[in-house]
């Protein structure tokens, strides 16, 4: 039964992640990422981490993917995606590299063999144990991550802020940002 669930969701994860990297439309790719994240969340539950599975669905599939969809809508990328979908010679470098990586890792696991798996202990699964470790041994990293999120919120707000009229954005000065072959874009805002 466990093997069957693993196989179903592993196949689902691989198939949907292929759609993520191969689909032209960013919206479809993002929705496919939701399927991948959900499958991996199921595998987290199988591995005895139900809290992380719930967190994965809440944070990743809930918050981050919605953020992606908002940005795709905001930038109206459907039209741009057709021109941006073409691939260059990088595929012929990336594909053998990725195959080599999977082959090497597979060889290592195949040669090494796996030690017999201990049955799941209640201690590993329990949320109480996780929380105790998080707020005692890992309190400092926890606080630092909170600080990081605060910095990220402030940084994202500043970076995405619309520059006031008449004043060029300080982060991305328009003149400096125009490349050699591009003609400077006219001011489009009214």
């Amino acid at each position: 039964m466990e093997t069957l669930i693993f196989l179903i969701f592993a196949a689902l994860a691989v198939a949907s992640s292929l759609v993520v990297v191969a689909h032209r439309s960013p919206v479809y790719a993002t929705m496919s990422l939701v399927v991948t994240l959900f499958s991996v969340a199921v595998l987290f539950v199988l591995l005895g981490a139900p809290f992380l599975g719930a967190l994965q669905i809440l944070i990743y599939a809930g918050a981050i993917v919605v953020l992606f969809l908002f940005v795709i809508m905001l930038l109206n990328l459907q039209k741009a995606s057709a021109a941006a979908g073409r691939r260059g010679g990088q595929l012929w470098v990336a594909l053998p590299g990725a195959l080599l990586f999977v082959g090497m890792v597979g060889l290592v696991f195949w040669r090494a063999g796996a030690p017999a798996l201990q049955p799941l202990t209640a201690d590993l699964v329990s949320l109480k144990g996780l929380a105790t470790a998080l707020f005692s041994d890992y309190l400092l990293p926890f606080e630092i991550v909170g600080l990081l999120l605060l910095v990220a919120v402030i940084g994202a707000t500043v970076a995405a802020r619309r520059a006031p009229d008449g004043e060029a954005s300080r982060l991305l000065p328009r003149e400096d940002f125009v490349g050699a072959g591009d003609e400077p874009r006219k001011e489009a805002r009214s």
Binding site: T36, L47, Y60, L91, L95, L124, A159
Partner: protein, 100 residues
């Protein structure tokens, strides 16, 4: 019981697929999606090893990785919005100011 190595193989496969996406896509958003995929594969590896060792440290690291991924996505997407405002594109091939 599913052997842990199957999970590790799956994670390696997802990571490789994410690498291919991050290397070959031109659209900035698609590159970000591929990076999220790679982070998720790394998370799966951590949880799998945490299961094998019977130690919950791996799960705690996954917790932190998720928080950092959220911060990274927020800042990165804000940067893309800023770039799109000035360049009208997020095709990374055309953002070649720092190219040698």
């Amino acid at each position: 019981m599913v052997p842990i190595s199957w999970y590790l193989m799956l994670a390696a496969l997802l990571f490789a697929i994410g690498t291919i996406g991050a290397l070959t896509r031109r659209n900035g958003i698609s590159i970000f999606l591929s990076i999220e995929l790679m982070l998720n594969a790394a998370n799966l590896t951590l949880v799998a090893y945490s299961r094998q060792m019977g130690d919950r440290t791996g799960q705690l690291i996954v917790f932190f990785v998720m928080a950092v991924a959220a911060a990274e996505a927020a800042v990165g997407l804000a940067l893309f919005i800023a770039v799109f405002r000035s360049r009208r594109t997020i095709d990374v091939n055309r953002l070649n100011l720092m190219r040698w």
